[in-house]
Structure formats: C-alpha cells, structure tokens
C-alpha cells in the first residue's frame, strides 16, 4: 500500500470559552491516514466538526492537541503548499471576470506569463467554462460559479484537494453531474481528494473510503471501503453494493443523529 499523504495523530480541537459561555470541545481525538491519490470522504451529523476537520488540514486553524502531517511535514498554523480548497459558499470574486478569477489562483505560484496563460486556459476548458471566460460571476448560475471556484483551485495544480460540501448549494441534478465531473478531474490530475459532505449517496458514489463521524465532539466511528474501480461515474448508483454502502452509512449515522436530537430535546 502507498504511504500516507495526510496523517492525523490524536488531533483535537477545542474552542476557548467566549464571554458567558463555556469552552467547546469540537473535535477529536482523531487518527486518520489518507493514502496518496485516494478519494476520501467524511460524513457526519450536522455540527460534528466536519468543516473544522477540513480547516485543520488546510492549516486555516491550529489543532489544540495532536499532529497533522501533509507529505511527511507537520502543518503548524501555516497553509502548506500543494493544498487547494473549494468551499460550499460561492467564493467567486464578483469584480473579476471568469478568466481573472481563475488567474487569481496562480497569484502566488510564480509561473512565467505564457505558462500561466496556458494553465488558465486549460483549467477553464477542463471545467467547460470556455465561452464564459469574459463573463462576470453575476451572469452565471450557481453551478457555473462553483465550477469557476474549482477551476481557480485546480489551476495551481494542488496535490491535495479539500472539498467542503462543494455541491451543498446546488440542486440534485447539478450535484450528480458535478459528481461525475469531480471523478473525472480526480483521475486526470491525480491528486488526493478529501471531501466533506452531508449527503450519504454522494459519499458512497464518489469515495474510495468513507469516514463516519460521531456527534460532537466528532470522532471517527466507522470506516467504509467502497472498492469502486478507479474508472467510475454516477451510474454506479445502480449497483447493489452502492445501496449496501449507503444503508451502512445511514445505519451508523441514524444512531448518532438520534443521540444529537435526544440531547437537544432534553435541553429544551
């Protein structure tokens, strides 16, 4: 088996007490080992700290305890090179055209102008945005804007792609199609993908491995291998093992979600 691309060892996250409140133990301890080139998904009940986990790996927020390594080097409060992030919210810059938005992803890359132009053109073409290059985000649909954000991330050629519910704001059809798209990109760019989602079918369809998280403080309570071939698309939802995976995820999550609901019911 290939070595770990991302490794988490005993990682926890606590948020300090705000005025009048008490400290929140949001996450962990978590141990995870994500393989090079793997499509890894995380599902969990809302509020379990999925997004916090992604922010920890992206170096956007420091861990309270434990260690996170990316390509063998510890991430300490600094955003490592080679990591790209796509968020759920529309993160397009409305004052820049599609082309300029994508170019923005290469600001810090220090590539030569002609190489830059070529990579921007490729990323735009890869996301099927060619004819919209001169348009502004306000002229595009939500799905198209999310493509712009993905292109802006891809243009920097990340070796680890972090996706924080990237299709959460899109309708069901667009989500399935974007899923196909992400699978294709994953094969083409050969990066490791780390996907956070609340949609179980999305995780079951896209990922090689799925970690199921518990309610807060979020820990990994189940790990599911899907054994999908690398060449796959949304048609795998017709297969029997897709249903089996989804129901296993749901069974684990249902128990967790009941706990959360029970807790909030008891609190009221």
């Amino acid at each position: 088996m290939t070595s770990a691309h991302v490794a988490l060892k005993g990682v926890t996250k606590r948020f300090p007490a705000s005025a009048g409140g008490q400290a929140v133990h949001a996450l962990g301890p978590i141990d995870l080992s994500i393989r090079q080139g793997e499509f890894f998904a995380v599902v969990g009940p809302s509020g379990c700290g999925k997004s916090t986990l992604l922010e920890l790996i992206a170096g956007l927020t420091p861990a309270s305890e434990g260690q996170i390594e990316f390509e063998g080097r510890a991430i300490e409060n600094e955003i490592p090179d080679g990591i790209g992030v796509v968020f759920q919210e529309d993160a397009c810059f409305p004052w820049l055209s599609v082309r300029e938005n994508v170019e923005f992803g290469l600001r810090k890359a220090g590539v030569a102008p002609d190489e830059k132009a070529r990579r921007v053109r490729d990323a735009i073409a890869m996301m099927g945005l060619g004819e919209f290059a001169p348009s502004y985000p306000a002229q595009l649909s939500g799905g198209m804007r999310q493509r712009v954000c993905i292109a802006r991330t891809l243009v920097a050629k990340p070796r680890l792609l972090l996706l924080d519910e990237p299709f959460g704001a899109l309708d069901q059809q667009t989500r399935l199609l974007m899923g196909d798209e992400v699978l294709r990109l994953w094969r083409e760019i050969g990066a490791t993908v780390f996907l956070i989602t609340h949609a179980l079918d999305e995780a079951a369809m896209l990922a090689d491995r799925i970690a199921v998280m518990s309610a807060r403080p979020g820990t990994v309570i189940d790990m599911v291998e899907t054994h999908w071939p690398r060449e796959r698309d949304s048609r795998i939802v017709e297969q029997e093992s897709f249903g089996a995976t989804t129901s296993r995820l749901w069974k684990t999550l249902r128990e967790e979600s009941m706990k959360t609901m029970g807790r909030s019911a008891a609190a009221t």
């Binding site: 956007l60 790209g84 968020f87 004052w95 992803g105 810090k108 306000a138």
Partner: protein
C-alpha cells in the same frame, strides 16, 4: 437599446415636469420672490458673462475641491481603520452616527472662531459634512465583506497588504462609491452653507448678498446653476454606482 431610450425619455419627462412646476410656482408666487424659467435662463447667460461671477465661482470650486478631497481621504481612512478592527468599529460607529445627526450648523461658530473668516472655514465646514458619511459607508462596506472571500484569500496565502488590496478593497468598492456620492452632495451643501454665513467670496456669499440687495435675478440664477451642477454630477455618479452594483 430599449433601456437606453426609456431612460432618456424618463429624463426628458422629468426635466419638462420640473420646468412646468417651476412655471406654476412662479405664477402663484410672482415677481416678489421668483423669476420664470425663461427669465432665469436669460439672466444666467448675462451673469456668466460678468467677471465677478467667475471670481465667486472659482472661489467656491476651489473650496469645494479641497473639502471634497479632505472628506474622501479622511472618510476612507477612518472607514478602513474602523472596518478592519471589529472592536473599534463597534465602539465608534454609534458615535459617528450621533455626530452625523447633529445639525452641523451648530458647529459653525466654533469653526469660524477656530479657522477665521475665509477659505479655511469654508473648507472645514464642507469637509465636516462629507467625512462622516464617507466613513460610515466605507466602514459598513469593509465590515460586510463576505467572510468566504477573506477565507479564500487565506487559502491562497495572501499577505495582509495583498488581502486589503486584492480582496477587501475591490469587494468594498460599490458600497464605498455610494458613500462618495452621498459625501459629494453633502460636502457641496456644507461648502455653500459655509459661504453664506461668513465669507467675502463664493456662490453662497453671492446668494446672501443678493438677498441683502433684494436682487431676485441673481438669487434665481445662482440657485439654478447650483442645482444643475449638483444634479448633473450626481447623475453621472449614480450611473457609475449602478454599474458597479450590477456586478455584485
């Protein structure tokens, strides 16, 4: 094409409506305090040919230009400084709003005593009208930048100055521009008001002087010119404003 033609037609209808209203007001009030649109325009042509009018106009424009630069520069500085620092913004915003709602004319005696008669008092009076709205709009523009855009900047490893230059500033531009438009109008009001109370030059002085001499022609012409100037510039700024907001 349709939109263009429509907006042109609306503008023409508006101007025609205002002229009719003016003519009606003139019919009701009469020669004592007003002149008809036609008389006003004829006198305006005579007025702009005199040397003394240009002395006063230049004086007002100079004062206004300096006051506007002060309003914009100080307003932007205050707005950005507070907008980037949450606690200061929370502490200072209510004070700015309170200051904004004071009739600035009550500060006029202090300004007059501090700056003396003449140019500097006018500039100061114009600037205090403009600084606060520009600062308030800028403050809100910076504060309401979508956090996701800042987060994206962090993921792309922008340095703090690059973050302000490439994300916070462009994200805030449409709102800031609205602030500049309001600041423009209020600074003009402030400057002319300043001239009306204690000055020897400027269009405001010309107006007060004309009231003293009971020269209705001058009153009508100067007022007319000020309205045309303010409305014209505001129209241009509004058009730019709309374009900027359309993108967001």
């Amino acid at each position: 094409m349709g939109d263009r033609a429509k907006s042109l037609r609306n503008t023409i209808v508006l101007i025609a409506g205002l002229l009719v209203f003016w003519q009606l007001m003139y019919a009701v009030i009469g020669e004592v305090a007003m002149r008809s649109p036609w008389q006003t325009m004829r006198y305006t042509v005579t007025l702009v040919e005199t040397d003394f009018f240009w002395v006063h106009l230049t004086n007002t424009l100079q004062a206004f230009a300096v006051a506007l630069v002060l309003s914009v520069v100080l307003g932007l500085l205050i707005g950005f400084a507070l907008g980037l620092h949450r606690l200061s913004a929370e502490a200072m915003e209510p004070m700015l709003v309170a200051l904004y709602s004071i009739p600035k004319i009550t500060l006029y005696p202090i300004i007059l005593l501090a700056f003396g008669l003449g140019m500097s008092a006018k500039i100061a009076f114009g600037a205090i009208h403009g600084i606060i709205p520009v600062a308030l709009f800028t403050l809100n523009a910076v504060r309401s930048t979508k956090p996701i855009l800042v987060k994206t900047g962090r993921v792309l490893k922008l340095s703090p100055p690059a973050m302000v230059r490439s994300i916070l500033f462009p994200a805030a531009v449409p709102e800031i521009f609205t602030g500049l438009r309001v600041g423009f109008s209020l600074t003009l009001i402030g400057t002319v008001l300043g001239e009306m109370f204690a000055a020897q030059h400027g269009l405001g002085y010309l107006l007060m002087n004309a009231i003293g001499l009971y020269n209705v022609d001058v009153i009508m012409s100067v007022t007319f010119l000020l309205v045309v100037f303010a409305a014209g510039v505001n129209g241009i700024l509004l058009a730019v404003d709309r374009r900027l907001h359309f993108r967001v």
